[in-house]
Each structure stands twice: as structure tokens, then as C-alpha cells.
């Protein structure tokens, strides 16, 4: 029993880190431009597909990871400029709907282009190591490390680079950022691109664990939203903590119920958060 719990702990952390990668982009976007990006799951899905194609073409998983991130980041920038920038300043409902429309288009495009049959991405690192009574795949640890590394890189970027400080300033006060000469329109486009790129990277990393198909974004969008709300919208550290927390809870729950039902755990966490501490469970109380 203890072994099962420990294994689920590791599983929970692995999935949690990927979820954190997806959710970070979402919360970054929301924090800076109040946009709830419904199309985020589709960016995740397209990243996985671009990964599939690149892998098939070049045979290199790592190249696939890089290409997918860059391509989808560019796509994200394009989506922002054409669909979201015109809606700046309007009621937030409009952006929810616009991104919903975008997700419809992207999902169906993937269905048309790639068909309904799931594809597979080969793991770059095969082999397992004995963990208690299981043979635990090395690859899962690789994903966890990579996700953590990417998130760490993001944190460093935000803290120390020029654009990072611009992003933080714009998130805090968009108007004053402009008055300081920060090119806010460019910053917003870049943030959306970063969010999209991170979603794509998660898609490629997660690909080997599940099949890649056009509907894979739906589940993730929902979970990512829950994570973002529980973590505190716009709060990067909170999202990461929430992602791991929720994934752990789900992993433990799946010891007793089926995975399809385990998701109810995250729903319950969300509802409790909204009732008790709506600004986010992991947001430090302001002094």
C-alpha cells in the first residue's frame, strides 16, 4: 500500500509538472491581458502534432521539441495579432468567445489534416528502472526534469531579462508601462507567443505518454483552467504549486476510483477554493 502511494506520488509530480508548464502559459496570458485563452488546449495539441511530423521527418525527438515550440509560438503570435488585439479594451466575454472560436477552428483543422486516428510519438529515452514492484520508465523522469527546467528558465527570464521586466511591469500596470516607453503591444504579442510555445512543448513532452489526437486539448484546457484559478489567476508560482497539488490529489484518488472519475477531485478542489479563498489557494495573503 505504501509503495502504491509512493508510486502515485511520483506519477502525480510528473503529470503535475507538465500541467504546470501548460498552466503557466495560461496564467501569464491572463495576468497581463485579462484574456482567458480557450484555445490553449488546441495549442498543446498542435504542438504534439508538429512534434509528430518533425519526428517522422528528422528522427530526432529533441529537434521535434524545439521546432514544435517555435512553430506554435509563431502561430500564437499570429492568433493574438489577428483575433485578440482588436478586442483589447472590450468586455472580457469577447475574448473568451473569440478564443473559443479559434479552438473550434484549430481542432477541426487538426481533424481534417491528420484524421481521427491517434498518432504516437516515440520516447527519446527508453528503458525502465525498478521502482518497488514496478518497472518505472526513465522517460517519465526525463519529462519531469525538462518541464521543471523550462519553468525555471521562464522564471529566470522574467526576473532578469529586459523583456522579462517589461512583462512584469506591464502585468502590474499596463497604462504606466506605456507611459514609461515600454512597447506594450509588442510585449503582449510576445507573452501570448511564449504561452503558446510552452503549451506546445508540453504537448510534445506528453505525447509519448498518450496518443496524439485532435481532441487531446479538451481535457487539458479544463484542468489548466482549474489549476489557474486554484493557483490564483495571474500568479505564476501559485499555478505551479496548484498544478502539482491537484495532480497529486488525482493520482492518489485513482488508487480507488477510475481515472475518468478521479478528475472529480480537481473539480471539488476548485469549488472549495472558490468558496473559501477565491483569489487562489496558493496566493500569499497580502501584508
Amino acid at each position: 500500500m505504501l509503495e502504491q502511494i509512493l508510486i502515485q506520488t511520483i506519477n502525480g509530480i510528473v503529470v503535475g509538472l507538465i500541467l504546470a508548464l501548460v498552466a503557466s502559459g495560461l496564467t501569464l496570458i491572463f495576468g497581463i491581458m485579462d484574456v482567458v485563452n480557450f484555445a490553449h488546449g488546441e495549442l498543446f495539441m498542435l504542438g504534439a502534432y508538429v512534434g509528430v511530423i518533425t519526428l517522422a521527418g528528422t528522427g530526432s525527438f529533441w529537434l521535434a521539441l524545439v521546432v514544435a515550440t517555435v512553430v506554435v509560438a509563431a502561430l500564437g503570435a499570429a492568433i493574438y495579432v489577428t483575433t485578440l488585439r482588436p478586442l483589447l479594451g472590450r468586455d472580457p466575454l469577447n475574448t473568451i468567445l473569440a478564443t473559443f472560436g479559434v479552438s473550434l477552428v484549430l481542432q477541426n483543422y487538426a481533424l481534417w489534416q491528420f484524421g481521427p486516428v491517434a498518432r504516437k510519438i516515440q520516447e527519446p529515452v527508453t528503458g525502465q528502472f525498478p521502482l518497488f514492484y514496478l518497472d518505472y520508465p526513465w522517460y517519465r523522469l526525463v519529462i519531469a526534469l525538462l518541464s521543471a527546467a523550462i519553468i525555471g528558465a521562464l522564471w529566470l527570464f522574467l526576473k532578469f531579462s529586459t523583456y522579462g521586466v517589461w512583462i512584469r511591469a506591464t502585468t502590474q500596470d499596463r497604462v504606466m508601462a506605456q507611459a514609461m516607453g515600454i512597447p506594450v503591444p509588442r510585449v503582449l504579442t510576445i507573452v501570448f507567443a511564449i504561452g503558446a510555445g510552452m503549451a506546445a512543448a508540453s504537448g510534445v513532452l506528453f505525447g509519448p505518454l498518450v496518443g496524439v489526437n485532435h481532441a487531446m486539448g479538451l481535457d487539458w484546457v479544463l484542468k489548466a483552467f482549474i489549476v489557474v484559478v486554484v493557483g490564483g489567476m495571474g500568479n505564476l508560482g501559485g499555478s505551479i504549486a496548484a498544478a502539482i497539488f491537484i495532480s497529486l490529489m488525482e493520482a492518489y484518488a485513482s488508487l480507488w476510483v477510475s481515472p475518468a472519475q478521479a478528475i472529480i477531485v480537481s473539480f471539488v478542489v476548485l469549488i472549495l477554493t472558490l468558496l473559501i479563498r477565491p483569489t487562489g489557494l496558493f496566493v500569499p495573503t497580502p501584508k
Binding site: F38, L97, V102, Q261
Partner: protein, 335 residues
């Protein structure tokens, strides 16, 4: 409302209803059923307008109300011998009301985006429960049942035909519209709209905003459940797909496309969307076959998903016609 306005309105109303009554005579079977479905979705969209358009609360939970109405009706139709129409309504509305009460509670505690996301999650909670509780709900496959007759026990029993069912649904929609119109034009409706404009001020004036919200959610949920019951009766099955949050998203799309805050707008939006979808889904295979006849091979055209141009049209409407089709028409007419 000025007398002239009232006159224009009622004239228009009677004309539209009359047209709808005779429409099925001019249409083949498939389109009669299609029109019935449009009316049902229109009812669902209209119910959602109470929250989105009048109270200013965006809800992605209508698939839950709709779905529970559907499953409630299913329960009645599977357990009553002979299947009872009125029991279907009763169970369906009861189920929808129960969910609505639940959502109503949260509506008083949460605002804006948090409320929207919570309602979305609720749809999913019900989806998961229905999907996995196979014994009771039939799980993935849903439930099949037979259509009840229009009956008053002991007096008469008239099985529905496509035509009579259409008129029945039209009658329900028309009555619902009139009822909702009465309500939104009443002092109650005025308070809702004032809450949409500025909730803090409405509360400051002294209105118990929480209570109004609860009533608005219950009202909206009941009519959505009504649509669910009608859908169950028409199609004779209930499936978890209808509880999935995407359905709620589509409902919001109908609202925005048609124009929120108008009651009629969402119906127009639903009709437009569904007609466009049907049309586009036939267009591409048609184009592909025309091209094939000319000897041009356009691989993939036949399967081109009609939802792509539909999605793009929707995005364009959101960006350029924020008042929806009705608002656009209104501005154009006023020029």
C-alpha cells in the same frame, strides 16, 4: 413603449408566428424535423439570454440544465407505462431545477469570470457522473426510449407525428417567449438589467441583489430544462454528449451571434448557426463532386470540416459585430 412600437411589435410577432405555423407544409420531412430542432435550440439559447443578456452573468452551465432536463424526461419515459408526456415534463423540470438551485447558490458568491468557469466545471461534473454511472444513465451510450403521446389519461391519446410535434414545440416556444418577455419587461426584469449595468449601485439602492440572482438562475435553468425535455421527446434518446461543456459554449455562441439581451436574438442566432452548419456541411462534398465531374481532383475537399469556416465567421462576428446579427440589423435599419 410607444403605441406605435407596440403595434409594430405585435404585428411582426403575429406575422412571424403565422409563417412558422405554415412553414412545415412547404418543407420535406427532413427539414420539418430540422426546423423543430432549431426551435428547441432556440428555446435553450433564449433561456441563457436571461442570464447573459439581462442579468449580465455569463454562464457556461446551460448544458447541465439542458442535459438534466433531457435525462429527467428519459427517466419518466422509461418508468411510466404508457410513457407519460406530463411526467416527462415534471421529472425533467424538477431535475433542471435541482441543478439550477445548486448553481444559483454559487452565483451569489462568485462574479464574472469565476462564475463562468465554475458553471463550466459544473457541466463537466455532471458529464463525468453521467458518463461513468453506466448502470443508471447508460453511460457513454445514453438511454433510448419511446416518444410519448399527447395524452390526457382517460380522455384522449394522440401520438405525435413530425408535424404535430413541430406545432407542439412551436407552441411551447411561443408561450415561453411571451412569458419571458412579460418578465423581462416587468419591474423584476428592470432590476435585473440594472444589475447588469452596475451591480454595486443596484445593491446600494437597496435591492437584495442575491435574491434576484437566484431567481434569474432558476428561471433560466427551468426554461433550459424545458428545452431538454422537448429534445428528449423529439429524438427519443439522451446522451452525455449534450452535457459536455462544448454544448454550453455553442449556446453562448448562439446568444452572441444573434444579439444578447433581446430574447429573440438568441433564437435568430441559433437558427443562423444551425442553418449555416447544415449548409456548409453539404457545400464541401458538393463542391468536391462538381470538381470531380470537371476532372479536377481536390483531395480532402469533401471532408473539409464545415466548422472551420463557421468558426471563422463566428470570430469575425465577435470582432466586428459585437451587438450580434440583430444589433447589426437594427443599426442598419436605423440608418
Amino acid at each position: 413603449m410607444t403605441r406605435r412600437h407596440t403595434l409594430v411589435f405585435w404585428t411582426g410577432f403575429c406575422v412571424v408566428v403565422a409563417l412558422l405555423v405554415v412553414a412545415p407544409f412547404a418543407l420535406p420531412e427532413f427539414w420539418r424535423r430540422f426546423l423543430t430542432e432549431i426551435l428547441i435550440w432556440g428555446l435553450l439559447a433564449m433561456s441563457s439570454d436571461i442570464l447573459i443578456g439581462y442579468t449580465g452573468m455569463v454562464s457556461f452551465g446551460h448544458s447541465a440544465f439542458f442535459g438534466l432536463g433531457m435525462y429527467g424526461a428519459a427517466a419518466a419515459l422509461l418508468t411510466s407505462r404508457p410513457p407519460s408526456l406530463w411526467l416527462a415534463f415534471f421529472y425533467g423540470l424538477l431535475a433542471a431545477a435541482a441543478v439550477a438551485a445548486f448553481v444559483a447558490y454559487f452565483s451569489t458568491r462568485l462574479r464574472d469570470i469565476y462564475f463562468a468557469i465554475t458553471t463550466l466545471i459544473f457541466s463537466q461534473i455532471f458529464y463525468v457522473i453521467i458518463f461513468t454511472w453506466t448502470d443508471v444513465t447508460g453511460g457513454e451510450n445514453g438511454l433510448n426510449f419511446s416518444r410519448p403521446a399527447l395524452a390526457i389519461p382517460g380522455l384522449f391519446s394522440l401520438p405525435f407525428t413530425t408535424l404535430t410535434l413541430y406545432w407542439f414545440v412551436l407552441a411551447v416556444l411561443t408561450v415561453s417567449y411571451l412569458v419571458l418577455r412579460r418578465i423581462t419587461h416587468s419591474p423584476f426584469g428592470m432590476v435585473l438589467q440594472s444589475m447588469r449595468e452596475n451591480e454595486a449601485r443596484t445593491r446600494a439602492i437597496g435591492y437584495p441583489v442575491e435574491r434576484y440572482k437566484i431567481v434569474a438562475v432558476m428561471l433560466s435553468g427551468l426554461f433550459a430544462g424545458l428545452a431538454g425535455v422537448l429534445y428528449a421527446i423529439q429524438n427519443r434518446f439522451a446522451a452525455p454528449d449534450f452535457v459536455f461543456f462544448l454544448v454550453s459554449g455553442e449556446v453562448v455562441i448562439y446568444n452572441v451571434m444573434g444579439g444578447i439581451g433581446t430574447l429573440v436574438g438568441p433564437i435568430v442566432g441559433a437558427a443562423t448557426f444551425l442553418l449555416l452548419r447544415e449548409g456548409l456541411s453539404r457545400l464541401f462534398p458538393y463542391l468536391a463532386s462538381v470538381a470531380a465531374e470537371q476532372g479536377i481532383a481536390l483531395p480532402g475537399l469533401a471532408e473539409f470540416p464545415h466548422l472551420i469556416p463557421l468558426g471563422i465567421i463566428f470570430i469575425v462576428i465577435v470582432i466586428f459585430m459585437p451587438q450580434g446579427l440583430l444589433g447589426f440589423a437594427r443599426r442598419w435599419l436605423n440608418r
